[in-house]
């Protein structure tokens, strides 16, 4: 079970990272700044895959406790935690030479939702029976 969850975590993390990169490119082209020095390709992949690996371990541990209600409780928890993390980009202190820091939350906040979206999108395909 944990193995399937970890595979789901890695694949959905990669999907989330790719979605983040596409969003970053579109954002940079339309608004002029993709903050690539701050949100690098490496950071995007580490954050997306890392978040979903933590989620997989969380799911596994929850399933040991909750049995039949795991998915419902986990989804609520994952969504709530994701929403809570948007505080981080809002409060993030950028280098002082960044011209328009007000554009940063508009880029980073949606990216925080991509790991949970990737997870929920691929879970029925990868780990339907878990």
């Amino acid at each position: 079970m944990l193995k399937k969850l970890l595979i789901l975590a890695v694949v959905s993390g990669i999907l989330a990272a790719v979605a983040s990169l596409v969003y970053q490119k579109v954002y940079a082209e339309s608004l002029g700044d993709g903050f690539k020095n701050i949100i690098s390709l490496q950071k995007i992949f580490v954050a997306c895959i890392g978040a979903n690996i933590v989620a997989a371990i969380g799911y596994f541990l929850l399933s040991k406790v909750l049995k039949g209600h795991t998915e419902a409780v986990f989804n609520i928890l994952f969504a709530v935690i994701t929403i809570a993390t948007i505080v981080y980009p809002i409060g993030y202190k950028l280098p002082l030479d960044v011209e328009m820091p007000e554009l940063f939350p508009g880029l980073a906040i949606p990216m925080h939702f991509f790991p949970v979206l990737g997870w929920m999108t691929l879970k029925p395909l990868f780990a339907k029976n878990i």
Partner: protein, 177 residues
């Protein structure tokens, strides 16, 4: 006639020498200046600094500064903090768009100098002394000073709270003639 010409010439020369002595050199402010502020909780820079700097080490009596900082150019690295700093709760950039400093007296102080003048922030004008160094390098020079400002003296924000009352300010202004 010849005497008149000699007299006029002498007078002109004397006037030119006198003018040279009383007008101190005007320095042009370079692009790479730094006006930064910091405390334990917040820090940042002001990106727009303008003004006139007349300074002659050999003639401090006629040296003077008249400089402004655009409040709206504040940059803390965080959009929310920038907005907050410009709001009427802090600098009120809409009502008081500039921080203004006009010197009244410049004196030698140890290895550096001290300028005393009127500092106007947030509509409050106070006499304020700033220590600074003047370092010449080639055709240019740099003015650099570090000092502390109590924001309560200028009614910026509420006393106490999350932000320290005393803010450290660092200024470095490269200049050329």
């Amino acid at each position: 006639m010849k005497r008149l010409i000699i007299f006029s010439g002498t007078l002109l020369l004397a006037a030119a020498v006198f003018a040279f002595n009383i007008v101190s050199p005007l320095w042009k402010i370079g692009d790479k200046y730094n006006v930064s502020f910091s405390s334990n909780e917040v820090g940042g820079i002001f990106k727009v600094f303008k003004g006139t700097i007349n300074f002659d080490e050999a003639n401090l009596a006629v040296s003077n500064f008249d400089v402004t900082v655009d409040v709206a150019s504040i940059q803390t690295g965080n959009a929310l903090q920038n907005k907050h700093a410009k709001s009427d709760e802090w600098f009120d950039a809409a009502k008081y768009p500039v921080i203004h400093y006009v010197s009244k007296k410049i004196v030698k102080a140890g290895a550096g100098y001290q300028v005393t003048g009127d500092l106007e922030i947030h509509g409050v004008k106070k006499e304020f002394t700033i220590p600074f160094n003047f370092v010449k390098k080639g055709a240019g020079a740099t003015f650099a000073g570090t000092f502390k400002v109590n924001r309560n003296d200028f009614h910026i924000g509420k006393p106490g709270g999350d932000v320290s009352d005393v803010i450290k300010v660092e200024i470095a202004v490269p200049v050329t003639k």
